[in-house]
């Protein structure tokens, strides 16, 4: 490189250029969430966590159009692990689900009430009677309570989980492949996401901003919604209307 060019380059390295603000990624996240992506077309104005989830899903739905590297870079920077994108493009092999579904320890309803650091919302009709199992998982964020109903062959039939969206909870992302239908729904005025079809994983950012990879449970239709500080997830062989009925009755 000629002398003057080299000197300019050295000058650039010696310059006290301003650094980008530390919270740039957070500001971009907020800006994205504040305005729904056109492709998501929600019928109501969901809160930002879910809006972002929908925007992310809309991106995922672009499939062949999308650019894995660029998108992965942006999602990674936004705090969503790049690996999640890869799995969207090649629908994942269902991970092995442990016998207890990885839902934590078997507890009684009273114990669950004591253990949960939030006010437990107990399912009633039209959920099918008292749950067969209640489990508490202290590992997930600040605790997750699972209500599980079994079928006549003692196989899991319906699963309702509740956890408190921790401080800083910003993203709920369902990974959906091309075979999964995704729809924005409303549960008693609060935003929700309905996923129907092929299996999907479940991701969210915990209080430390780390993406958490929830184990795939029943791998069936799923309704995900928020109420106050709680996030609910209902999985099972339900139609959208059936799931919404259970959710609205909670």
């Amino acid at each position: 490189m000629p002398e003057l060019e080299r000197e300019l380059r050295d000058l650039g390295r010696a310059l006290d250029l301003p650094a980008p603000p530390d919270d740039l990624a957070a500001r971009v996240r907020q800006a994205i969430a504040a305005e729904p992506a056109p492709a998501a077309a929600p019928r109501f104005r969901p809160r930002r966590a879910l809006v972002v989830a929908l925007a992310v899903l809309a991106l995922a739905a672009l499939g062949a159009l999308a650019v894995p590297q660029a998108r992965t870079a942006i999602l990674e920077w936004l705090g969503l692990r790049g690996a999640s994108v890869e799995r969207v493009e090649t629908q994942p092999d269902a991970p092995a689900v442990p016998d207890d579904l990885g839902l934590g320890d078997l507890v009684t309803l009273a114990e669950a009430r004591d253990l949960a650091p939030f006010t437990l919302v107990e399912p009633g009709p039209p959920a099918p009677g008292p749950p067969d199992e209640i489990r508490f998982d202290p590992v997930t964020a600040d605790g997750q309570v699972a209500f599980l109903w079994l079928d006549t062959a003692a196989e899991p039939e319906l699963l309702l989980t509740e956890f408190r969206a921790p401080l800083g909870f910003e993203f709920v992302e369902k990974l959906a492949g091309p075979g999964t239908e995704v729809a924005a729904v409303e549960v008693n005025g609060a935003p929700g996401i309905w996923l129907e079809g092929e299996p999907h994983g479940f991701y969210y950012l915990d209080a430390a901003g780390q993406p958490r990879d929830e184990t795939l449970r029943l791998a069936r239709n799923t309704l995900l919604w928020e109420r106050g500080p709680l996030t609910f997830r209902l999985e099972g062989d339900l139609t959208r209307e059936e799931a919404l009925a259970v959710a609205r009755a909670l």
Partner: protein, 162 residues
């Protein structure tokens, strides 16, 4: 992105002329890039594309504010370290030379200053510089060589290296 945000922000700083507008431009540019990912051409290099979007935001801000780009470029307190420590005399001489260069850059026309700043201060490639400044690559080449010539003349190059 972590890698890209620094260079995108500094490019925006040069173009917008101040850090506050550069912050807004970088933020809005990244949001637009995120939304536009579907239109990103497969296989194209990512950085020029991102820089183009961010630089465009920065340019719009400067235009609407009606300000000239006059970024207050400052030399860091200490020069780049590493390697053998130069003698105090050599260090002083190098610092003087940098200050001189900086002043000469400031006397260039804006489009010439920007092309040199992108190419050499920020060490962008020709392609990235073209994307950031919204001009063709050939324009980057010709403008840069013209700017370098003007800079040399201004500095009285022969005298400086006598």
């Amino acid at each position: 992105m972590q890698r890209h945000q620094g260079i995108a922000f500094r490019t925006a700083c040069l173009i917008a002329g101040n850090a506050a507008d550069a912050e807004d431009a970088t933020q809005d540019g990244f949001v637009k890039a995120y939304r536009a990912l579907g239109r990103f051409r497969r296989g194209a290099p990512f950085r020029p594309w991102l820089l183009q979007i961010v630089a465009n935001e920065a340019r719009n801000r400067r235009r609407s504010a009606g300000r000239r780009a006059a970024l207050d470029l400052r030399l860091a307190g200490a020069g780049p370290s590493g390697g053998a420590a130069p003698s105090p005399e050599a260090a002083t001489e190098a610092a003087e030379r940098r200050a001189e260069l900086l002043a000469a850059l400031g006397r260039l026309r804006e489009e010439e200053r920007l092309v040199l700043a992108c190419r050499f201060l920020l060490e962008l490639s020709e392609e990235e510089t073209a994307a950031a400044l919204g001009v063709r690559r050939g324009t980057v080449k010709s403008r840069a060589s013209r700017a370098l010539a003007r800079l040399r003349a201004d500095l009285g190059e022969e005298a400086a290296h006598a």
